[in-house]
């Protein structure tokens, strides 16, 4: 057991060290770039990229344990699809050399590229493709499989020769090359035919045909990928990719700043954008994932079932203010027409007009009179007061919700923001027990030709309001149904544009903003990252020769946000505590010396 004297000495020494360290912080906090490492070293053959969360062992069956995977980036490095990628209306042939439809588009004959091998050396054959479709069809749930059992509905596959397979669908599948062609990872038959419960095969290394194979993984800690030297598009440019899981966003960008990692597989948060762009050795490129953040109304509940009310609310929302305040300008404002402006199917005239006066007029005309508290009333005397649920782990959604609540006050609508945990929000959406909520969706919801069908076609009779608001309009239904079966791209687009205009007039939901997707990397480690629209920068095209100029990343523009880096503020706080602690320590030491003299 320590006696008192040495302990107190130790404490004082420790205090001294801490004070020194703190003053160093204050100095460094003033000029964050001062300690940056020198760049210009030769291209490394290994990059380290922090990812958000565990994705199990990356196979298409186990990845979907997550419901919606955190991202498909790793899976798409290990596996290939027949075409790449699903965000283009005419995707590039990848494992497939060609795919030719029957006149009714119910049959597709796929010719595979010869000479492709799996990571274990076995050749890729038509059997693998047929098996993939059959296996996916028999798998319940999951991000990929629903494009086989739900839309388009897969019926059978016939192997015509070792490199040719004919795939039969129940209905016309005019966009086969996009979905499932550009989306469905092809898996090896010789591995998966031996596995009974594919969704529990979480301890095997994935075997794909992709540019990288998994060398090892430590669950929930790190994935190690190495280049597939036999890749059919040539050996990838980087020999190894380490992918540690960094759960905390600020930790991930701190690690990037210190050089512990070379890139982060999540977009730079707006408040760190300037700091990252200005740091020597770090480059930020814009590469949208075609995501959106959107507000959904419960189209079947109370006054929200009235199109005029939903329209007035969306008109009363100033999307530019949200983009400037919450995103500091690093996003595009949403459109009334839902579809991402970069999508091939977007209505070129889509947009959003903020007009509180018009919204007020419309509500007046519709008979919603203001009460004494300024909140409008329905004919039955109920207040126009709605709940807005947001996930507690999404700070940007929360801030947007608060701004919306403030904005619609001026049109006499009261919105109560409620922050709940993500699982509770999921449950409410499943049961239809909500007024409105904010959520986000990936490229899937904007680039897919059937996205409008998927999200906004009337729910089956008797279904709950549904997880996307329970919107129902027979005219809209007819257009999106027709679009699914339309063979010609131009005709399909015309139908989808018409559908978007009906959607815009009904306002079942409103996209608040489309994030820019700014990705940061250290140039010294690897400078070949490209922007692959719809996929960020951690994509197979970043590592394969031949795409360098095809999709050059647009340098992200500075939004002129005047918010400084948070380090400076924290530095000041720490500095103040140093001064305080120093003063206290000094006085304490004097006092102790005094006491010692007395004794």
């Amino acid at each position: 057991m320590n006696t008192m004297q040495p302990a107190s000495k130790r404490r004082r020494r420790a205090g001294g060290i801490a004070a020194l360290a703190l003053s160093a912080t204050v100095v460094a906090g003033v000029s964050p770039g001062a300690a940056a490492q020198s760049s210009g070293s030769p291209p490394a053959s290994k990059v380290t990229v922090a990812i958000k969360a565990s994705e199990n062992n990356l196979t298409p069956f186990t990845l979907t344990l997550l419901g919606l995977p955190v991202s498909h980036d790793l899976t798409n490095l290990v596996y290939d699809t027949l075409f790449w990628s699903q965000v283009k209306d005419e995707p590039e042939p990848w494992l497939a050399q060609s795919a030719d439809p029957s006149p009714d588009r119910k049959q597709w004959t796929v010719k595979l590229r010869p000479g492709v091998t799996w990571h274990d050396g076995q050749p890729l054959t038509a059997d693998d493709v047929a098996f993939t479709f059959q296996k996916m069809k028999s798998t319940t749930g999951g991000r990929y499989s629903h494009h086989v059992w739900e839309y388009p509905v897969f019926e059978s596959a016939e192997v015509l020769d070792p490199l040719t397979v004919r795939i039969n669908f129940r209905d016309a599948a005019p966009t086969f090359k996009i979905l499932p062609g550009g989306d469905l990872p092809i898996v090896p038959k010789h591995i998966w035919e031996k596995i009974d419960d594919a969704s529990k095969a979480t301890d095997i290394l994935p075997v794909g045909t992709g540019p990288y194979k998994m060398a090892s993984f430590v669950p929930d800690q790190i994935y190690r990928l190495e280049a597939n030297a036999a890749y059919f598009k040539g050996k990838p440019k980087v020999d190894a990719i380490d992918l540690p899981i960094v759960r905390d966003q600020s930790a991930a960008f701190a690690a990037l700043q210190t050089g512990q990692i070379d890139s982060v597989d999540r977009a730079v948060p707006p408040e760190l954008f300037d700091q990252m762009s200005n740091q020597p050795g770090i480059k930020v490129v814009q590469s949208t994932r075609m995501e959106s953040v959107h507000l959904h109304f419960n189209n079947r509940k109370g006054a929200l079932a009235d199109t005029r009310v939903r329209n007035a609310i969306t008109e009363g929302i100033d999307l530019n203010a949200i983009v400037q305040t919450v995103l500091l300008g690093h996003a595009r404002p949403g459109r009334d027409t839902w579809v991402h402006p970069d999508s091939a199917w977007a209505d070129p005239q889509g947009g959003h007009v903020f007009d509180a006066a018009k919204a007020n007029q419309a509500l007046d005309d519709a008979g919603y009179r203001r009460g004494e508290d300024g909140v409008r009333r329905t004919a039955e005397g109920n207040r126009l007061e709605f709940g807005l649920s947001v996930a507690a782990n999404e700070p940007q959604h929360q801030r947007s919700a608060q701004l919306i609540a403030q904005q619609v006050e001026s049109i006499g609508v009261k919105i109560n923001v409620e922050s709940i945990d993500a699982a509770t929000l999921r449950q409410r959406r499943g049961t239809g027990n909500y007024d409105s909520f904010i959520t986000n969706l990936e490229s899937h919801a904007h680039a897919d030709p059937d996205a409008l069908y998927f999200f906004f076609h009337s729910p089956a009779p008797g279904a709950p309001a549904g997880s996307f608001g329970g919107y129902s309009n027979p005219q809209f239904d007819q257009l999106v149904e027709q679009a699914r079966a339309t063979i010609d791209n131009t005709d399909r687009k015309r139908l989808l544009v018409d559908a978007q205009r009906i959607y815009a007039a009904d306002a079942p939901a409103l996209v608040l903003y489309y994030p820019n997707g700014d990705y940061a990397y250290r140039t010294a480690a690897y400078n070949g990252w490209i922007a692959d629209t719809g996929h960020g920068i951690l994509t197979k095209r970043s590592f394969i020769r031949g795409y360098e100029t095809a999709a050059e990343g647009t340098p992200a523009s500075s939004a002129g946000a005047d918010d400084g880096p948070p380090w400076a503020a924290i530095g000041v706080v720490l500095g103040l505590s140093v001064v305080g602690a120093g003063a206290l320590a000094g006085r304490s030491r004097r006092r102790e010396a005094f006491e010692a003299e007395e004794a």
């Binding site: 057991m1 344990l65 669950p219 790190i222 991930a252 701190a254 210190t258 993500a422």
Partner: protein, 352 residues
């Protein structure tokens, strides 16, 4: 402290030694504590099963993407739930859970698709490393500071230490973790920001060093979190010991101040020991945010992510493990009291 490992049966060989003469009643006391521990464990098992299910949402909501919620049939849902043993009524699930539990089967994680036992075995060592070290450190540092404050109670130095410890204690652990990261990783570039394992395939001593380097900041954050209670208890119990007659007596005999304090300190250690054992349980929970900030693969982060995904089997397993840990810590505390405080093992006092 080495006495902890001594079991009552081993001790029978030393009955002639007067120091061990009270061990038979201690053994009895320990045996008497066992049924209570079993009861507590039983209640814990029931709560572990019930609590995750009381929260809105369920694991199947997580397994089925929201965009498919309307497309999937009730039968498919039930089938999916069945593959994790989560189908049927709550009562059926509970009896199934109990049946599997006695066979040592904790079920399969709905998020990871792996047996819960293997997940726990993988995460537990990391949490033990963090929690064990930080309980030890916070108890030692807290007790040292607490006793020091007690000897100087009422002086400005006491007030300052008290204020300082209280301020440090009132910061939430994740905030302290972020500050530490900012200071030692980002600005000073001394320590890594995340993870438990080194990025390179280091071997032997180099590996141990890298693992230790990565544990420094989480341990520091957790130590600060546990410091307050250890300090307060040490201080107040030492202060009350100083008011006892034997201290006055010792001082009157002319014993020098450090001798007097040695006597008081030994008696003041008993509550400190109790708090250290309680801290073991508290820090298991407190480790979750710190492990999340540092992406540390411990039990706390597993719990956090399992709550988000409503992974019932994993939550049940984690809480069971923590309940076992806390109950074991309490039993150990019971067992060690007599060695810290001979009064406890005096036969006349045992029943009281």
């Amino acid at each position: 402290m080495a006495d902890i490992s001594l079991t009552p049966t081993e001790a029978f060989g030393h009955q002639s030694d007067s120091r061990w003469s009270g061990l038979v009643p201690i053994g009895r006391q320990f045996l008497r504590a066992l049924p209570l521990a079993a009861l507590v464990l039983g209640v814990a098992v029931i709560l572990n099963f019930a609590l995750p299910r009381l929260a809105p949402g369920d694991p199947i909501d997580f397994l089925v993407p929201a965009e498919q919620a309307n497309a999937i049939s009730a039968e498919q849902r039930e089938q999916l739930a069945g593959s994790y043993g989560l189908n049927g009524s709550e009562w059926e699930q509970f009896t199934r859970y109990l049946g599997n539990l006695v066979q040592g089967d904790l079920g399969i994680s709905t998020r990871h698709g792996r047996p819960v036992t293997s997940l726990l075995a993988e995460r537990l060592p990391w949490t033990l490393l963090l929690v064990g070290t930080s309980v030890l450190l916070s108890t030692l540092i807290g007790a040292a500071l607490g006793f020091r404050s007690a000897w100087r109670r009422g002086t400005r130095s006491d007030v300052r230490t008290l204020t300082g410890v209280m301020v440090a204690d009132s910061f939430p652990p994740f905030f302290v973790a972020l500050l530490l990261m900012l200071l030692f990783s980002v600005q000073l570039k001394l320590l890594p920001v995340f993870g438990a394992l080194p990025g390179t395939e280091a071997q032997g001593l180099a590996f141990a060093f890298e693992v230790a380097r990565r544990a420094v900041l989480p341990i520091a954050a957790l130590t600060l979190a546990g410091l307050g209670s250890a300090y307060l208890v040490a201080r107040s119990s030492a202060v009350s010991e100083l008011g006892e007659d034997y201290v006055t007596m010792a001082a009157a005999k002319g014993l020098d101040p450090s001798g007097v304090r040695r006597h008081a300190r030994r008696n003041a250690l008993v509550p400190v020991w109790t708090v250290a054992m309680l801290n073991v349980g508290a820090l298991f929970g407190g480790a979750a945010p710190v492990e999340t900030v540092f992406s540390y693969p411990g039990l706390g982060r597993l719990i956090y992510e399992s709550v988000l995904s409503r992974d019932y089997p994993v939550l049940q397993g984690c809480f069971l493990l923590i309940a076992l840990g806390v109950i074991a810590a309490n039993l150990v505390a019971e067992l060690v009291y007599p060695f810290l405080d001979p009064r406890v093992r005096r036969p006349g006092k045992v029943g009281g």
